[in-house]
């Protein structure tokens, strides 16, 4: 049996104080000076060594408080109140919620799975991936107990073409029929985000992380760091049509990405000539009718197709089109055509949590790209100030490459462990068999339709009495 794929993580401290949910309002005025003050009884000793970070005005009581609310309940004069930190509330947006962002920070810092605590209060369904429930009925089987289990759960995936049969000439395998694949030890590839206050040093760090993890980093060809700084075999240069025609890119890449356009075949042929050893991935934007485009690209010889949604997991054109459905319909179109195994379907956009990786694979992707999570791992607050030309509050541009690499390894380590947990609980031992396993998941909208669809619909503008 091959050696178990383990991601070694170690704690990498934040460079800036994290913004926490808690906002303690503790007053001194009117204090009764009780013999035993509730502040001295804090089990986390939050009030004993209090400090203030003057640059960000972050008080240590907020960051160390565990929200047990004992001090709030026990103070006889009710001098302690708790509120939600306004800085926390303003993190991110309605897709990249403060909760997601702060959990990504935690994973990048510790490399551990975030635990949300006693009980989940809901909501139990939401848009996009949140409306998918996975069948975890195998969670009771101790041998498949996720990360601590005795059975080996493989997360390895193949990128490339697998032919439906092999051809032999006598005892020799005909070379054209051999599978042309690149193996990745986990179905998570990294991708340079569309925007952010990152620098060449950050990209170097990401490349190093990809090489330590054994996975790949997709990046625009012009950002490519020097050979000495990062091994080229773990990079996927993204080449545009003019760049392809001018013969850009070097020969060491295993994978190359080109953009879909009306003339994608031209770039494709050009690249397959200049990069004979590399597999070429075609990036198809997730627009209306993307499944037909995916199908035509697959029939025209591409072995890897990357379906790209926007960073909110929606179509760039139409906000009602969700990447979840896009992956499903592209996958099903390929299945129906009988060529599913001849192409690899990659998905990107809106992958914000570890569960989204598993869910995107269940919908039919072979592997996913994560882009903004690797930026949030560097303490990004998704404030989009960099888009406006304002300074980055956490100065990502000054982060050293070694710190960047370790943070991303931690994050992907935590994602990998969660993938193992989900697969163990679903009773699946191989990530390749998770692909398209919609039988082991439920889609809330479909269940809702089946149960209550016949009761009629509420017209817009009307309310139920």
């Amino acid at each position: 049996m091959p050696r178990k794929y383990v991601i070694h993580t170690k704690e990498v401290p934040n460079r800036f104080k994290a913004i926490s949910r808690s906002g303690v309002i503790a007053w001194e005025e009117g204090c009764l000076k009780c013999a035993v003050c509730v502040k001295t009884q804090c089990v986390y000793h939050v009030y004993e060594h209090r400090s203030l970070d003057p640059r960000q005005m972050i008080d240590s009581i907020d960051n160390e408080c565990m929200n047990c609310l004992r001090c709030v309940q026990s103070c006889p004069k009710q001098l302690i109140h708790k509120a939600i930190n306004p800085e926390y509330k303003s993190l991110g947006d309605d897709y990249w919620t403060p909760d997601i962002i702060s959990k990504l920070w935690y994973q990048a810092e510790t490399g551990k799975i975030p635990v949300s605590g006693a009980g989940y209060p809901g909501p139990f369904s939401g848009p996009n991936f949140d409306s998918m429930w996975t069948d975890m009925s195998e969670i009771v089987r101790p041998t498949r107990d996720g990360i601590h289990g005795r059975e080996y759960i493989s997360t390895a995936v193949d990128l490339g073409t697998k032919k439906d049969h092999l051809d032999f000439k006598g005892m020799e395998l005909v070379e054209e029929s051999a599978p042309a694949v690149v193996a990745a030890p986990l179905p998570i590839l990294l991708r340079v985000p569309a925007f952010g206050a990152f620098e060449q040093e950050t990209i170097k760090g990401w490349a190093r992380a990809a090489s330590r993890l054994g996975t790949f980093l997709a990046l625009p060809a012009e950002m490519n760091p020097e050979e000495a700084e990062a091994p080229q075999s773990c990079l996927i240069p993204i080449v545009s049509l003019p760049q392809a025609q001018s013969g850009q890119g070097n020969g060491h890449s295993l994978l190359v990405e080109i953009l879909w356009s009306e003339h994608w075949r031209k770039a494709f042929e050009r690249m397959s000539k200049s990069h004979p050893g590399a597999l070429i991935c075609v990036r198809v934007p997730f627009l209306k009718g993307a499944e037909e485009r995916v199908l035509s690209v697959a029939k025209n010889g591409a072995s890897i197709i990357h379906l790209e949604a926007d960073f909110h997991g929606r179509s760039q054109q139409d906000e009602t089109l969700l990447v979840r459905d896009g992956i499903r319909s592209a996958h099903l179109a390929l299945v129906q055509e009988g060529i599913r195994d001849e192409v690899t379907l990659l998905a990107s956009g809106g992958i914000a949590m570890a569960e989204h990786v598993a869910k995107a694979i269940i919908c039919g992707a072979d592997a996913v790209f994560i882009d903004f999570p690797i930026l949030i791992a560097l303490e990004c607050r998704m404030c989009l100030r960099c888009k406006e030309g304002l300074s980055c509050p956490v100065e990502i541009n000054t982060a050293p490459a070694s710190w960047v690499a370790s943070r991303v390894v931690n994050l992907v380590g935590a994602f990998h462990n969660q993938l193992l947990e989900v697969m163990g609980a679903m009773g699946i031992r191989d990530a390749r068999r998770l692909r398209g396993e919609v039988g082991r998941s439920m889609f809330f909208d479909e269940l809702d339709e089946a149960a209550f669809g016949q009761m009629g619909y509420l017209k817009e503008g009307y309310e139920l009495e």
Binding site: I25, W27, L52, R55, M57, P86, S90, R385, E388
Partner: protein, 152 residues
Amino acid sequence: MDIRKRSLALFYCQNVPQSGIKQRQALEKLYGPSIKLFPLPCSGRLEPLHLLRALEEFADAAYVVTCPEGACRYFEGNLRARKRVELARKIIASIGLEEDRVGIVMNEKERQKSLADFAKELMSRVSGLRPSPVLRPRTGFEDPERKQGDKL
């Protein structure tokens, strides 16, 4: 006169009208690095230490914007903030700084002003101050008055 020539640390209660992330970013864009905005869950959260550390680290002046008197969500938060600001003013006066480097502005019940109004008003009020002698001259900060090295 350019009202951006002094740096201001502006603390504000999150219940001040129009003080969301969008408005905050717009203000930061408008005034550049000369304004630093810190939202608070309630102005009563503020301690003299916040104001003094701001003066010590980066600001020529530190001000607080609170809800109108009697309209605090936590009943007395803004009244307590006022007391603390008074204390901070006494402290800085005792070391020879101008009292006006620290202050509190309460919103009015009848005519509520937005965060942007307060920022504009306070920036112009602060621009009349001389550069803070507490701050060391920073490299690359083109302020001739500060470079001469004010001493107390």
